[in-house]
C-alpha cells in the first residue's frame, strides 16, 4: 500500500549535486564578505565566505567585537545584503557603526560617501537587524524563527536577501550549560552548530561567531567550548592585542583552503 502522504526517499535526501554544479555554485554564489580590516581579509582569503562558519576567538578586549561591528557595517554599507547581529553583551552601538562607516576608506573609493551622512547611516541601519540574546533557549528561538522567515523569503530589505549572521558571543551563551557531569550542554552546543551550518548552507549565509579563551594549564590559554566545538567552524582565527595599542594580531588556527599558522596585523581605527 503506497502511503502518498510520506515524501519519497528521493525528496527527503535533498538535491544531489554534480562536481560541475558545485563549482558553478561556488564561483557564482559563495562570495567573500569583506570585514573591512585589511589584515583579516587577507588571512581569510578575501573575507567571510558565504556558506561557511567563521570563528573569531581571543582573550578579552582583543578586538573580536570590533571585527563583528566592522563586518556588519561594511556589508550593510556596500548593500551586499541584510545582516543579523545577535548581541549577548549589549555591545552593539549604532554610533560605533556610524564612526566605522565615516572612517572607511573602502566607501570612499566606491564613491558611496557622496550621500549625506545621516541618510547613509539610516540606510545602513535598515540593513542590520540587531537582537539581544541572553540565554541559549532564546538563541534557539531566534534561529528557529530565522529559519522560518528565510524559507518564506521574508528577510529582505527592499530586495536584498540576508547574507551575514553574527553571534557575539556564542561562548557566553554556552558557558552556563557546558562542563560538569551532564552531557545536555554539549549536545545543545552541537545542535546550535548544526543549525548554524544548515542555515549557512541552505540560505547562502556567512556565519561569524566569537568565542573566548580559557586556561589550558601552566598559564597557557586555549579557545573555550572544548574539543567537540573545534571541528565545527570552517575557519578559526585567534586574535590578540598588546596592552595599550590598537594594533591587533590575528593567527589562522584552521582554514579550509589555506595553510594554518599565518598571522597578520590589523589596526582597529578609533
Amino acid at each position: 500500500m503506497m502511503n502518498h502522504d510520506q515524501p519519497s526517499a528521493k525528496d527527503q535526501c535533498g538535491k544531489i549535486w554534480s562536481g560541475i554544479q558545485l563549482l558553478k555554485d561556488t564561483t557564482e554564489n559563495k562570495h567573500f564578505l569583506p570585514t573591512g580590516l585589511e589584515g583579516i581579509d587577507t588571512l581569510l582569503g578575501g573575507g567571510l565566505r558565504q556558506g561557511q562558519l567563521t570563528e573569531v576567538t581571543g582573550p578579552s578586549s582583543s578586538g573580536k567585537t570590533q571585527v563583528c561591528l566592522h563586518s556588519a557595517s561594511l556589508v550593510a554599507a556596500k548593500n551586499m545584503g541584510v545582516v543579523m547581529y545577535l548581541d549577548t553583551s549589549n555591545s552593539f552601538s549604532a554610533s560605533r557603526v556610524a564612526t566605522i562607516i565615516d572612517g572607511s576608506s573602502d566607501l570612499f573609493e566606491l564613491g558611496l560617501d557622496l550621500q549625506p551622512k545621516d541618510m547613509r547611516l539610516k540606510s545602513v541601519m535598515r540593513s542590520i537587524i540587531c537582537e539581544s540574546v541572553f540565554d541559549i533557549f532564546a538563541l534557539f528561538e531566534v534561529l528557529h524563527q530565522l529559519e522560518v522567515s528565510l524559507l518564506n523569503d521574508k528577510v529582505n530589505n527592499g530586495g536584498s536577501k540576508m547574507c551575514l549572521l553574527i553571534i557575539d558571543s556564542i561562548s557566553s551563551l554556552l558557558a552556563p550549560i557546558i562542563g560538569g557531569k551532564y552531557p545536555q550542554g554539549r549536545s545543545m552546543m552541537i545542535s546550535v552548530a548544526m543549525i548554524l551550518k544548515k542555515l549557512a548552507d541552505e540560505h547562502n549565509l556567512s556565519v561569524l561567531v566569537t568565542n573566548h579563551m580559557v586556561s589550558a594549564g601552566n598559564g597557557a590559554v586555549k579557545p573555550a567550548l572544548g574539543e567537540s566545538w573545534r571541528a565545527v567552524p570552517h575557519v578559526r582565527l585567534v586574535l590578540s592585542r598588546e596592552c595599550g595599542s590598537n594594533i591587533c594580531t590575528a593567527t589562522v588556527l584552521k582554514h579550509t583552503l589555506k595553510a594554518s599558522g599565518r598571522t597578520a596585523k590589523f589596526v582597529v581605527p578609533s
Binding site: 582573550p59 578586549s61 549577548t88 540565554d135 557566553s172 598559564g219
Partner: protein, 270 residues
C-alpha cells in the same frame, strides 16, 4: 536606534577626566566592571555613582534611584552622607541661579533624600548573591525608577570555598547574562566591582582581575583603577566603542573628583 543612543544620558563619575575616557560617564544598558587593588577607591567610586545617579534631571542628571548590593560590608553610611553633601554643594555651586529652578527641586536636595533613594542589599554568601540577582528582576519591575545597580564586590563570595571550578564558571556566566539582560530590559547601568589577584603567566607574576579568563568576557566595559606613584589612575581596558585611555582622578572628602588640586586628596595608605 541611533537617536535613542544619542539621547541616552550618562551617569557622571564626579571626575571630568574620568567621564571623558568613559564617553561622558557610565552608560546605561551596559555592564561596566571596575577592578583594582584594595584601597584604590572602588567602593568610593561605587558610592559616588549611587549618589550621582540621583542628581535631578533639572541639574543634568538622571534623577534615578540606586540598588547597592554589598557583599563585603564596605558600605559606610557616614561616608555616603558625606559624599551626598559634597554632591549637593557642587550642584548648588554649579547652578547659582537656583531661584530659576523650582523651589521643590531645591528642597529635594537634602542628603537624607539621597540616602533614602538607595536600596541596599547585604549578602553574606554566594547563594544569597545568586538569590539577590534572581530577585532583582522582580524588584526592578516594581521599582521602575532604579537607574543603577552596583555590586560590591561581585567576586568576594566566589573566591573562597568553591571546590568545583567548572560549577563556578557556569554559575558566574549565568549571573553575568542575567545582569546583561536586566541592564538592557530596564535601561539601567550595572556596575560590578572586582578584586585583583596574582596570575602566573609568561614566567612572572602579574596582577589580574579575579575570577579568571571566562569572567573577563562577561562585561561590556572594563575600567581598571591603579596607582601611579601617589596618584590614582583609571585605565579603560575594554569598550566596544571607545579607545583605550587613562585618566587620573582623586578621592577627596567630597567624593571622587578630578585630580587637580592636591589639597584635599586622600593619600595612599600602604
Amino acid at each position: 536606534m541611533l537617536s535613542e543612543e544619542q539621547s541616552q544620558k550618562h551617569i557622571t563619575t564626579g571626575s571630568g577626566d574620568l567621564n571623558n575616557i568613559l564617553g561622558g560617564g557610565i552608560h546605561c544598558k551596559e555592564v561596566t566592571e571596575i577592578g583594582g587593588v584594595p584601597g584604590v577607591g572602588k567602593t568610593q567610586l561605587g558610592i559616588q555613582l549611587a549618589i550621582n545617579v540621583q542628581i535631578p534631571v533639572e541639574y543634568g542628571g538622571l534623577g534615578g534611584k540606586a540598588v547597592y548590593i554589598d557583599t563585603e560590608g564596605s558600605f559606610m553610611v557616614e561616608r555616603v552622607y558625606q559624599i551626598a553633601e559634597g554632591c549637593i554643594s557642587d550642584i548648588l555651586e554649579h547652578f547659582p541661579h537656583s531661584h530659576e529652578k523650582s523651589s521643590f527641586a531645591q528642597k529635594q536636595l537634602q542628603p537624607e533624600h539621597f540616602l533614602a533613594d538607595i536600596y541596599y542589599f547585604r549578602v553574606c554568601s554566594y547563594t544569597e548573591q545568586i538569590a539577590a540577582i534572581n530577585y532583582l528582576e522582580k524588584f526592578l519591575g516594581e521599582h521602575k525608577d532604579v537607574r543603577i545597580v552596583i555590586i560590591d564586590s561581585v567576586t568576594f563570595h566566589f573566591r573562597q570555598d568553591f571546590d568545583d571550578m567548572a560549577l563556578r564558571t557556569r554559575v558566574l556566566s549565568g549571573l553575568s547574562l542575567k545582569l546583561m539582560k536586566i541592564a538592557k530590559a530596564y535601561n539601567l547601568a550595572v556596575v560590578l566591582l572586582n578584586q585583583v589577584t596574582t596570575k602566573f603567566a609568561e614566567g612572572s607574576f602579574q596582577l589580574t582581575l579575579a575570577l579568571g579568563d571566562s569572567w573577563s568576557h562577561s562585561c561590556t566595559n572594563r575600567l581598571i583603577l591603579y596607582w601611579n606613584g601617589n596618584d590614582r589612575y583609571a585605565y579603560l581596558d575594554k569598550s566596544p566603542s571607545l579607545p583605550v585611555a587613562s585618566a587620573p582622578y582623586a578621592v577627596t572628602g567630597k567624593g571622587v573628583r578630578d585630580a587637580g588640586n592636591s589639597n584635599h586628596k586622600r593619600v595612599r595608605v600602604t
